[in-house]
Structures are given as C-alpha cells and as structure tokens.
C-alpha cells in the first residue's frame, strides 16, 4: 500500500488519478479549498476501494499553513510515499494584461504556492531518503504565447524549479516527475472550444500514474505534445508569431 498526498484534489486530473489509486487500494490524503467537494470525492474514493481517505481543507495560497498540512498528512497516513501537486487556476489572460494585481495573484497560485510546496516536500523526502514528487506543469510553460503567457510563465517557473530539484536528487532515492498535459477537457477549461487534440482527464490520469510508477523525469500527455513543443521551442519568433 502506498501513502499518497494529493494537493488540489478537486481538480479533475487529480481526482481521476485518485480514482485509479483508490482502485489499487492505496491510502490517500486529499487537500483542496472546497470542503463539500472534498467530502464527496472522499466518499467516492472509499467506495472505489481506497484503503483510507483523509481530507484537509486548505487554500494552498495560504503558504503559512503548508508545513502544518504536511505534518498532518504525514501523521494521518504514517508517512508519505508520493505527493501529487495538481492545484491551479487557468488565468484569464486578457484580464491579467490589464491588472498587475491579478497577474501577481495568478503567479502566486500557479507558481509560488507550488514552489513553496516543492521546497518543503523535497526536504522532507530528502530526510527520508525516499519519495516521489509529481507536479502538474503544462505545455504552456514551454514557450510563452500571446493567448496565455501569464499562466504559461507560472508553469515555466514550475518546470524549471522541478528540473533543478531532479538534478539535486539525482543520486538519491527521491524522484521528481514533471507532468506536462496538453489540452484537457475539464471544468477548468469549460469555456474553451474543443477539438481533436483534446483528451479527457481519465486519459491524462492514466499516463501520470504510469510516469510516477516509472519515475520518469518528464511526461508530455498525450505524448505527441513532446514533438509539438520541441518544434515550438526552437522555432524562430518570426515563424511562431504567425500562429
């Protein structure tokens, strides 16, 4: 049985990961803002077969309580084997462009809070000499684009930070897995127009769990995004601006 901490547990991607873990009989500790939704998800995971489910209601922008949350998760499950960091908001790019305050807020939610959590969890796992941290970044972090560069730059920070951590732990039993989903059909992306490149959160969840089990450094999901983003990363600005 694995002891798994899920941050942003009401996100559709995180919830689908939790469902798969529940069916494997793992122990789960769920953290999110909305108490009612957490309760519904917790009951769901119990029926699906989780060996135990505990919850903690917390807005992860409340940095001061990160340590307390981690201590509680540790105590509740008797240790942590895997931490999945999946919370976030899809920034409204147009509104951010007009507001420094909103832009800072989005960076705080999507980058700084994650970095606080990564720091604390990494140190904890380093002390134990084991553990897997999986962090949900995004293809949007690979190159800033006009349509979503506020969200994208937050994710770029997360990607860079996680890759640094991974190098720091290269000689230890601690692994850091960076997940880069493409377009995922979830409540967070409800207002976006869907096309053939979209996948469901169940698809992404399966590949996240595979990547964690394999302790993969980085996982684009679906995999074709690896090719698209690598081309985009090296393409000259003169070309990229047209798309």
């Amino acid at each position: 049985m694995k002891k798994i901490l899920i941050l942003g547990a009401t996100s559709a991607i995180a919830e689908h990961c939790a469902r798969l873990w529940a069916e494997q009989g793992q122990a789960l500790y769920l953290v999110a803002r909305n108490e009612d939704r957490l309760a519904a998800i917790a009951s769901d995971l119990r029926v699906r077969g989780a060996s135990s489910v505990d919850t903690f209601t917390l807005d992860l922008n409340d940095f001061d309580r990160h340590e307390e949350m981690l201590a509680r998760a540790d105590k509740s499950m008797g240790g942590i084997d895997i931490a999945l960091i999946a919370h976030g908001t899809l920034s409204n790019q147009k509104e951010c462009e007009q507001s420094v305050e909103l832009t800072m807020q989005e960076l705080r939610t999507n980058a700084l809070s994650t970095i606080s959590l990564l720091t604390l969890i990494a140190n904890k796992f380093e002390g134990n000499q084991s553990g897997t941290i999986a962090v949900v970044s995004s293809v949007a972090g690979d190159r800033g684009r006009a349509s979503n560069y506020v969200y994208g730059s937050a994710k770029a920070m997360v990607t860079a930070f996680a890759s640094g951590l991974r190098q720091r732990f290269h000689n230890s039993n601690v692994s850091v897995v960076t997940i880069k989903p493409g377009f995922v059909d979830t409540p967070m992306t409800a207002s976006s127009k869907k096309g053939i490149m979209w996948v469901g959160p169940d698809y992404v969840a399966k590949s996240i769990i595979k990547a964690i089990d394999a302790r993969q450094a980085q996982k684009y999901t679906p995999s074709f995004w690896w090719l698209i983003m690598n081309i985009l990363k090296i393409a000259p600005s003169a070309v990229v601006k047209k798309f």
């Binding site: 559709a12 069916e23 909305n34 009612d36 939704r37 519904a40 998800i41 009951s43 769901d44 119990r46 029926v47 699906r48 077969g49 409540p187 409800a190």
Partner: protein, 432 residues
C-alpha cells in the same frame, strides 16, 4: 453545439453546459430556464434535447455503499457502467438494468428503465429508496415512496420534467458470480414465442430476439434467452473498452437483403435448449461492445421504436403490427420481444402488463410514417410507446395512451417545474 439523442434524429442546436458541482447546477437553473438535464445522451429521441441542456457528467461520485443493507447512494451523473465496474467485483449487482450500461443513474430513474427481469422485479424506479431533487425554485428536496410520494412517482419515469435528480439511494442485489447461465429456446412462430414466455415466467431474466422480416407461418419466429445468476464463485469481470465504429457507414448497407440474411443466420446459429455460462456483460449489454453502433444507420440517424400491448388481445395485435412491418419491407436490424409484469404507480412509466417489442428503423420519411401508422394500432389496442425511445409521437396519441398525464402536470405545477424544465419532446407532446 449540435445535440441529439442516440438515434441521431432529430438534431438541434443547444447550449450545453457541464456543471462541475451541484451548486453550479443550481446557479445555471437560476440563470437560464427552462432547461433539461442530460446524462449520457443515450435516450434515443428528443427527450434530452432542448435549447439549454445541463449535462451531469461531473456529478459522478459514489457517495455511500452500505454492505450491510445492500444499498448504494450515488450522484445522478454516475454511469451504470462505472457502478458495475466497481461493484461487481465486490459482489453486488443492479436489481434492474436496461440493455446498455452507458446510462447514468439519473437517466435510469428519469426513464424508469426496465430490464429482462421486468416480469418479476418491475422497473428501476421500484428499487429507488430515496433521491434528492433540485426543484424549479432552486430548492433541493428529498423524496421517497413515503416522503413527498407524489413528487417521487412523477420523477421516476418523469423524463427530467419535474426537476433535476441530484443523487439517489438504490437497492442492490448480492451476486456470487459475474456469469449468467443462459438457456436458449427457439420458437418457429409468434404464437409459439408467446407461449415460450408464459412457460418460462419463473426464469429471472427473459428476452427474445425476433425475426421481423419473416412472413406467413414463420411470422414472429424467435430465439428466447433465459438467464439466471450463475452459482459458482467467480466475480472476475472484464469490461473492455468498446470497439468503435469510427464513421457513419452508408445507410444503404442496412437494407432488406442484408438484414434478412443476418436474421436468417442468427436464427440458424442458435441452438435450441442449450444452456451455457456467459459473462454478465455480454448477456445484458451485447451492443456495449461496439462503441457508436448508432453510426451504422448512416448520417440521417434512426428511430428506435418500442411499444407495449396489453396481454388481452396481445397476440393478434402483435401479428397485425408485424404484418405492417413486413409489408413495408423496412427491416429492423434488431427486434426484441419481452413479456412485462404488472405496471407500477409512476405516472409516466412505460411498462404495463403485456408484450413489448423494440425495433429500430432508418430515419426516412417512409419509416416515420410507418411508425405513425403503428402508433395508431398500438393506441387502439390499449398499448403505448416508450417515451425514452420516442422521437415522433403525436400529442393526441401521448395523451390518449398515458392517461395520467394530467396528474403528472398537476404535480409539476405543485412543485414549480412548469417553465423551468422542458425538452423538445415535452413540447411536442403538449406538456406545459
């Protein structure tokens, strides 16, 4: 967005939203009305079509499994397939299941679906212990056969027109095997098919496939499938991802010749009086193995047509209808016959005691008029058509064959549903 039922006919433009929470659903209702709730869109006609559609796909949580009393509480958007995937291995099964597992709990209640055990176990709604319903006012109430019974009996089978079902507690049945022991009985005529149902009334599950292209003395020849839950302990279950029909196949591929060839080989292949154990999923959900089988009817879609005729006069009336179909030459790819048990208290529930036949036809104008001719025969014989499959019934036929429609309307009025919940179907059938 274009929405339609599983039959692909009719198709309309609609605003479809996916509420992430029950609270979002309440806000949506406050902002836009009337609307209709939609689960997986597997009702065939236009009962989940409307200009505003609230899909329940994110309201899909198990809430409580009570293994002492054998009950399950779950949100309405949870699919029966997911329930079976999680519960069969724990030794539980649904007390009533329709012919596809790709329907939601809420949809199963709103359609008051029936299954192969209707003659003994009744409809899905008869196994609902209680449910929570979002009313037109935004208020959420709990209803059961004892609490607000009028609302309960209007909501079971009420096609989503009384409110939005949020969650429900249902009875489960314990099983020790994921297999069904199936027995096959061949009958050479309609009369013999009817007799076979009567002789096997004690069988837990019974359903017949019927060859509706045969004429003369072979009219109504059939293969009856009987089923019992297998006894030996084995709860292993494989729910494979269906093989998908990728595109609409040209409609002409399903014609009289191809269908009669298929029917003949199906009849020839069946072995009389043979018993064997089959996986529960292939016994109950044979078509679930083919994703998007509705596309086999081409882009114009198809009409599913299911009616029931009262036992009295059932044989001769069924013969009339089958003759009407063979005369038209419109073969139905699938024709399924079943004997129903007694009716229930739900106001718009479909089953009445008698014989039910389900058919499907390409949605062509000649088939639509065939269906309307059959409607007349069904009405005159005291029968009725299943609202979950209906796409073309006239208001007058509905009101003549569902005599409790006025009572249904007064319950809707009492609970503030009028003007808040409506579908293309409810408008066609003249409901307020």
């Amino acid at each position: 967005l274009r929405v339609s039922g599983w039959g692909g006919y009719p198709i309309i433009d609609a605003d479809l939203s996916n509420a992430a929470t029950q609270e979002d659903l309440r806000k949506l209702l406050e902002a836009t009305q009337p609307l209709i709730a939609r689960g997986m869109g597997r009702s065939y006609g236009d009962s989940a079509n409307h200009s505003v559609v609230a899909q329940t796909k994110y309201l899909d949580h198990f809430l409580e499994l009570d293994t002492v009393n054998g009950t399950l509480k779950a949100e309405a958007g949870l699919s029966l397939r997911e329930i079976l995937r999680v519960l069969i291995k724990q030794g539980w099964f649904l007390p009533v299941t329709p012919g596809t597992s790709f329907v939601t709990l809420g949809g199963a209640i709103a359609s008051d679906v029936h299954g192969k055990n209707h003659h003994l176990s009744g409809t899905f709604g008869e196994h609902v212990l209680s449910m929570r319903v979002l009313l037109g006012s935004g208020e959420v109430v709990t209803t059961s056969p004892l609490v607000l019974p009028d609302l309960f009996h209007a909501t079971c089978g009420g096609m989503g027109l009384t409110g939005v079902i949020l969650d429900a507690t249902i009875k489960l049945i314990p099983i020790s095997s994921s297999k069904i022991s199936q027995k096959t009985i061949k009958s050479r005529s309609l009369e013999k098919s009817f007799r076979a149902f009567d002789q096997n009334f004690a069988a837990t599950y019974s359903v017949a496939w019927i060859d509706c292209l045969k004429t003369g003395s072979s009219l109504g020849r059939s293969v009856l499938f009987l089923g019992e839950h297998a006894g030996r302990e084995d709860l292993a279950l494989s729910l494979k991802k269906p093989i998908t029909v990728p595109i609409h196949t040209p409609a002409f591929l399903l014609n009289k010749l191809s269908i009669s060839t298929l029917n003949a080989s199906y009849y020839a292949k069946a072995i009389n009086n043979r018993s064997k154990d089959v996986p529960l999923t292939s016994f109950f959900y044979p078509l679930d193995a083919i994703g998007g089988w509705n596309k086999l009817y081409g882009k114009q879609g198809f009409i599913q047509y299911q009616f029931v005729l009262p036992t009295e006069g059932g044989l001769s009336n069924m013969r009339e209808i089958l003759k009407e179909i063979t005369k038209s030459g419109s073969g139905s790819f699938l024709a399924v016959l079943k004997k129903f048990g007694p009716t229930n208290k739900n106001l718009l529930s479909f089953p009445i005691e008698g014989y039910t036949l389900a058919l499907d036809f390409k949605a062509t104008s000649s088939n639509i008029s065939l269906v309307q001719r059959m409607d007349e025969v069904v009405k005159d014989s005291g029968g009725r058509v299943y609202l979950t499959k209906d796409a073309v019934m006239k208001e007058s036929t509905f009101k003549a064959t569902y005599p409790k429609w006025q009572e249904f309307e007064s319950v809707r009025e009492k609970y503030g549903a009028i003007g808040k919940f409506a579908s293309s179907q409810s408008k066609r059938l003249g409901l307020a």
